[in-house]
Point group: C2
Chain length 238, copies 2
DNA sequence: CTTGAATTTGAATTCAAATTCAATATTATA
DNA sequence: TATAATATTGAATTTGAATTCAAATTCAAG
């Protein structure tokens, strides 16, 4: 059924209905693995129950033994994906304290990797956010959470600016959106205008990180750290 | 029918099938007006033929006299909307030659207005781009086209940087994406975190324009032009 | 081994919309 | 005004999946 309801039809968190036996767990896992493939290939809107059960090699009716509907399964799969790909803490450990550029770059590298490796799934994130209010909120909370470190630092970082907490968040939010558009059009939509001379993952992450850094600090990151964007050193008003 | 095909099922450009009589024109207009309302309210995926004909006050069968399917009608409505809202030329006339900030601000004001006035339709733009390859390409071409003026200026603007044409485009594309995310989350998804102390249209446009300008020129726009973002004058590395 | 509960199957059913089309109304043209 | 063409109606049909469920299978416990 094409979902017309606004709210999610998800049950308890974890989506687990019946079948907690080892066999059940295996079946559930098979369905989720199949769903991930289908989502990557055809996207959420064109995914059918038969696609998933077919891929999983089980009968279509089995689907309902484990999930009430496609949205529920998709939600589980995507939540797993998000949880798996956005382990901010891990990344921040490697970054020298106070090295803002390294930190920004590390974050962006993570995001770019997700887009490069699973463009279809990244697309599904948007698709599902568009049809499930709760999931959308979760994603935004996640986004805001990753921004909190920076938002928190703003008063200390720019004491002279004395901006309100809300304004700091607006600024950071604006900056953080940088790159989302180009990532989508590059990796998901594969626009020829962008992809013709292709960029490596590091190059893309660097580009976005540098533009972010410039907007934030009104200066370029240290020259020795730049490669693809080295020429941007000279991109400033004459 | 939920569309499963990748390509658009659109006929000739303009989508005109039969009914070019004055009456036909009127009926077509009624359907388009109704579709605009439905799209704004429920979005593309949950729109039904009965919703449109119901709103238009005609029998459901009449729909097929003028359009082969919902996608075709939606495409027309959204193309009209895009053509109507993005008249770049008009805006640029008012802008003093060489006043980069004014130009950027004017562009952003246009975009912000679209989001503020028709958030549902802006959402549909994404929805349709996601399900129709051709429409997506059209939107991106449009986007790139609006960026051409700037991309073209890059070599003259920053001769020392001597960046390749493609790199200039990547930089501009990245910058131009700034704001899309916050606009969507503010106007379309109405995230409380963002909207709690609300911003006026001019304030939002100013915020995005200033961040864009900073990333581009590594400096702030002239202080006397800033209002909401006046404090950003002091947002730079100490 | 036996037994019963849980799992799995896939054909049959249901369902929400899309789509058709014969009948009717309206408009344009001679 | 008569006649043909076009527009409009909405009930009936078709469509494409979702959903159900009785029967078959597997598995774990006794």
């Amino acid at each position: 059924m094409v979902d017309r309801e606004i709210r999610s039809s998800r049950k308890i968190a974890g989506g687990t209905g019946k079948g907690n036996s080892p066999k059940g767990e295996r079946a559930r896992a098979k369905l989720k693995a199949a769903a991930l493939l289908v989502l990557e290939e055809v996207g959420y809107h064109r995914m059918r129950i038969a696609d998933v059960t077919g891929r999983a090699g089980v009968a279509s009716g089995l689907f309902y033994h484990y999930y009430p509907d496609l949205k529920s399964l998709t939600l589980e799969v995507l939540e797993d994906f998000v949880a798996h790909s956005r382990r901010v803490e891990d990344i921040e450990k490697d970054v020298p304290q106070g090295d803002w550029y390294a930190r920004i770059l590390a974050h962006n590298l993570l995001v770019v990797q997700s887009y490069a490796q699973r463009p279809g799934i990244m697309r599904c994130l948007l698709q599902l956010a568009d049809s499930d209010e709760d999931f959308a909120r979760m994603l935004r909370r996640n986004f805001v959470h990753q921004l909190r470190w920076l938002t928190r630092q703003m008063p200390k970082l720019f004491p002279a600016a004395a901006m309100s907490e809300h304004q700091a968040m607006m600024v950071v939010y604006t900056l953080a959106g940088t790159g989302e558009t180009i990532l989508r059009d590059y990796y998901v939509n594969r626009d020829e205008v962008l992809t013709d001379p292709g960029l490596g993952i590091e190059q893309m992450a660097e580009l976005i990180a540098v533009m972010f850094y410039r907007g934030l600090f009104l200066e370029n990151p240290p020259a020795e750290k730049l490669h693809y964007t080295a020429v941007l050193q000279d991109m400033r008003k004459a």
